[in-house]
C-alpha cells in the first residue's frame, strides 16, 4: 500500500489524460508519473529526509507529493501565510529537507542547515524536462509516513500530524472508484496544498483519473471565472470560500451560471445556514455534499450526500429539515461512537465526545505518539450527537466547552441564540476565568455596520435575550463589541485570541 499506486494505475490506464491544469500550464498523468520518478530519484540522492513545499498551488504540488513517495520520504506542505518566525520554526522541525519554495517567502528567514531550496519553476523544469529511462521508485513500507501536516494551531503551537501510506490508501480505496471520472470531468482545487483537503484532492482525483484545475490564489471572482472557463464539473470549498463566492456574485451582479458544474462539496468548518441555502438557490441542479473530516483521519469520515441536502431543503418536518445542518452519516469505511466523560457510549440524541475508528484514522503526532485507544478509537475532540436516522450533528470542539460551576456549556447554543438578534452579524462565545464559577461565559459580538449602538444598553439587552431563550447560566458575563472577529485564512475562528482578550477585560 503506497500512495504512488494511485498514480501508477492512472498513468497505465490514461497516460494521455490531463492530470492537472494551473493557469496556462498542464500536464498529463503519464507526464506526472515520469516527473515524479525523476524528481524522486534526485531528491533521494540528496540524502534529505523530508520533501517540503512552501508555496501556493501549482503543478509542483502533485509532482512533489508523488516525488516524495518515489523517494520513500514524507511530504510536508507548509502554510505560506505564517509569519517568518513561525515558518523558520517549522523548517527547523523538518531538516534535512528538500524544499520547494517561493523565494520571496524565505526573505528574512534563516534557512536551517541541511536544506536544498529549489524554486517552483526550476523544480518543474527539471522534473518535467528530465530525459532517459524512469528511475525505479523506492519501496516504501505501508506503515511509512507519506505525509506530515502541521495543524493550524488555533488553540496552541502547531502539532505535526503524520499520515501513513496505509491510512491514505485506506481512505482512497474506501471512498473512490478507480477511473470513475469521465474524460471531460474537471475538479477545481481551491484549497491550498498544506490543507488535508489539498492532499486528498490530489489522491482522489488521480485515482478517479479526473483532471484537477488548480486555483493558485483563491478569491470569489477567480473561483467563479475559473469554473466557467475550465468547464469545471466538481469542486470542493471550505465554507468561507463559498461565502466569498456568493458575496462576490451578489455584490457584482456577475453571471453566476455554471452550466458544467454537477457537484459541489464543502467541509472544513461549520457552514452558515444562509450561505448553503443561497447556494442551493443559485445552482438548483448541482449536487451538494457536506464532508466532515479531520487532518488526523485522512480527510472525510462522514458525508451529507446530495439526497440528504434535498430532503432537508424540501421538508416541512423540523426533524428532517435540520438534516441540512448535520454532517450526514459516517462513511462505510469508519465507525463513529458518541461517548460521555467516562468513556461510555451514549444513546441517540445525547451530546458527547465524537470518537472514530477505521483504517484511514491515523490519530498520531510526531513527538506525542498515537492518540488511539487500545481498541483503535480516536478522540476527534469534536462534540456532537447522532439522531435516530444516523445523522451526525456537531456541537463545537471539546476544548471550547465552558465548564461553569461543574455544568458543561456549549458555546454553539449561545452563539446560535445571539446570532438571531437583529443587531448581531457575527458572534463567538468563549470561556473566561471566573473566581466564583471556575469559568463563565464571554461573548465577542460584531454588530451591523452603519447602525449606531449604545454599548451598555445593547449589552443589557443581549443578556436579557439569552436569559429568555436559554437560562441564566448561559448569560454572557462579559460582552465585548468588535469590528470583526479574528479568523485564520481557512475560516477557523481564533478562539484563543478572543479568550485572552475577554479574560483581560473581565
Amino acid at each position: 500500500m503506497n500512495i504512488l499506486m494511485t498514480l501508477e494505475m492512472a498513468a497505465e490506464c490514461h497516460p494521455d489524460r490531463v492530470a492537472a491544469t494551473c493557469g496556462e500550464q498542464s500536464m498529463t498523468y503519464g507526464t506526472l508519473l515520469k516527473a515524479a520518478r525523476h524528481a524522486g530519484a534526485q531528491i533521494r540522492a540528496s540524502g534529505c529526509r523530508h520533501v517540503g513545499v512552501l508555496d501556493i498551488n501549482s503543478l509542483a504540488a502533485p509532482v512533489a507529493l508523488y516525488a516524495a513517495a518515489c523517494a520513500g520520504l514524507s511530504y510536508v506542505p507548509m502554510n505560506y501565510r505564517l509569519t517568518k518566525p513561525e515558518i523558520q520554526a517549522l523548517l527547523e522541525r523538518i531538516t534535512p529537507a528538500w524544499l520547494i519554495a517561493d523565494p520571496k517567502l524565505l526573505d528574512g528567514v534563516e534557512v536551517p542547515a541541511g536544506f536544498t531550496v529549489v524554486d517552483r519553476e526550476q523544480f518543474l523544469r527539471d522534473a518535467l524536462g528530465a530525459g532517459g529511462a524512469d528511475p525505479e521508485p523506492a519501496q516504501a513500507d505501508p506503515d511509512a509516513v507519506a505525509v506530515q501536516l502541521f495543524t493550524s494551531g488555533t488553540t496552541g503551537a502547531p502539532k505535526a500530524a503524520v499520515l501513513r501510506h496505509e491510512n491514505l490508501m485506506s481512505y482512497i480505496l474506501g471512498t473512490v472508484e478507480f477511473g470513475a471520472a469521465d474524460e471531460h470531468d474537471a475538479v477545481l482545487v481551491a484549497v491550498p496544498p498544506y490543507h488535508i483537503a489539498g492532499i486528498s484532492a490530489v489522491l482522489s482525483s488521480t485515482y478517479a483519473c479526473r483532471r484537477m484545475v488548480q486555483l493558485s490564489n483563491f478569491d470569489g471572482q477567480s473561483w467563479l471565472e475559473t469554473c466557467q472557463r475550465e468547464k469545471v464539473t466538481n469542486a470542493f470549498v471550505v465554507p468561507t470560500m463559498l461565502s466569498r463566492v456568493i458575496e462576490y456574485i451578489d455584490a457584482s451582479g456577475a453571471d453566476a451560471t455554471l452550466p458544467a458544474l454537477r457537484a459541489l462539496a464543502y467541509g472544513g468548518g461549520k457552514m452558515p445556514a444562509p450561505v448553503i441555502e443561497r447556494a442551493m438557490q443559485l445552482w438548483p441542479t448541482v449536487d451538494f455534499t457536506n464532508a466532515y473530516g479531520l487532518t488526523e483521519t485522512s480527510s472525510t469520515i462522514a458525508l451529507l450526500d446530495p439526497e440528504g441536502h434535498r430532503e432537508g431543503f424540501n421538508s416541512a418536518d423540523p426533524a428532517v429539515r435540520k438534516r441540512l445542518h448535520s454532517v450526514g452519516r459516517p462513511i462505510d469505511a469508519v465507525e463513529i461512537e458518541i461517548r460521555d466523560e467516562d468513556g461510555k457510549a451514549l444513546p441517540v440524541d445525547e451530546v458527547g465526545d465524537v470518537f472514530v475508528r477505521g483504517g484511514q484514522v491515523a490519530g498520531e503526532y510526531l513527538g506525542i505518539g498515537s492518540l488511539l485507544d487500545a481498541n483503535g478509537w480516536f478522540p476527534t475532540r469534536d462534540r456532537g450527537y447522532q439522531d435516530k436516522y444516523g445523522f451526525l450533528y456537531l456541537d463545537g470542539r471539546a476544548d471550547d466547552v465552558i465548564v461553569r460551576g461543574g455544568e458543561n456549556i456549549s458555546p454553539g447554543e449561545i452563539e446560535d441564540v445571539l446570532r438571531q438578534h437583529p443587531a448581531i452579524v457575527d458572534v463567538a462565545v468563549v470561556a473566561i476565568p471566573d473566581e466564583e464559577w471556575g469559568e463563565s461565559v464571554g461573548a465577542a459580538v460584531v454588530t451591523n455596520p452603519g447602525v449606531k449602538i449604545d454599548e451598555a444598553a445593547l449589552r443589557a439587552e443581549l443578556q436579557g435575550w439569552v436569559r429568555e431563550r436559554l437560562r441564566s447560566s448561559r448569560v454572557p458575563a462579559v460582552i465585548s463589541f468588535r469590528e470583526n472577529l479574528p479568523y485564520n485564512e481557512m475560516g477557523k475562528i481564533l478562539r484563543r485570541v478572543l479568550r485572552d482578550e475577554l479574560s483581560a477585560s473581565a
Binding site: 500500500m1 499506486m5 501508477e8 494505475m9 497505465e12 490506464c13 505501508p142 496505509e166 480505496l173 471512498t175 473512490v176 472508484e177 478507480f178 477511473g179 470513475a180 475538479v187 483537503a197 486528498s200 484532492a201 482522489s204 478517479a208 466538481n234 470542493f236 457537484a263 462539496a265 467541509g267 449536487d287 455534499t289 464532508a291 473530516g293 480527510s299 472525510t300 458525508l303 450526500d305 446530495p306 462513511i331 462505510d332
Partner: protein, 103 residues
Amino acid sequence: MSTLKAGSRLKSAVCDAEVMVVRAAAVEVSLECGGAGMIPMAADKPAGVAPSEAFAQGTLVGKRYTDADDRFELLCTKGGKGSLSIDGALLGVKQAKALPSSD
C-alpha cells in the same frame, strides 16, 4: 500455498495482471491467476505460457475481487487476460457503492 498479507502486491505468471491484497484471512491458500499461482512482483515470468481456458475471462484494472465467503479482497492494479481464483474457486467482482466525491 501461502498466507496473503494486506498491502502486498503480486503478479500473474501467465498474463499482465497485477493485484494488491486489500484484506486477507490468516489462512494458507493458493491464489492463482489464469489457473497458475501468482508470483512476487520481482520474480521472472515463465516464457510461452497462457491462461488456462477455465480461468481466462480476464481481470480488470481498478476492480475489487472477493471470494464467496468475503474472507479475501484483492484490488487489480493492472488488467490481464487471466481470471483470479483462490483454491480453484473463481473470485467475483465486488460491487462498489458509489459515494459522492467529497474532495
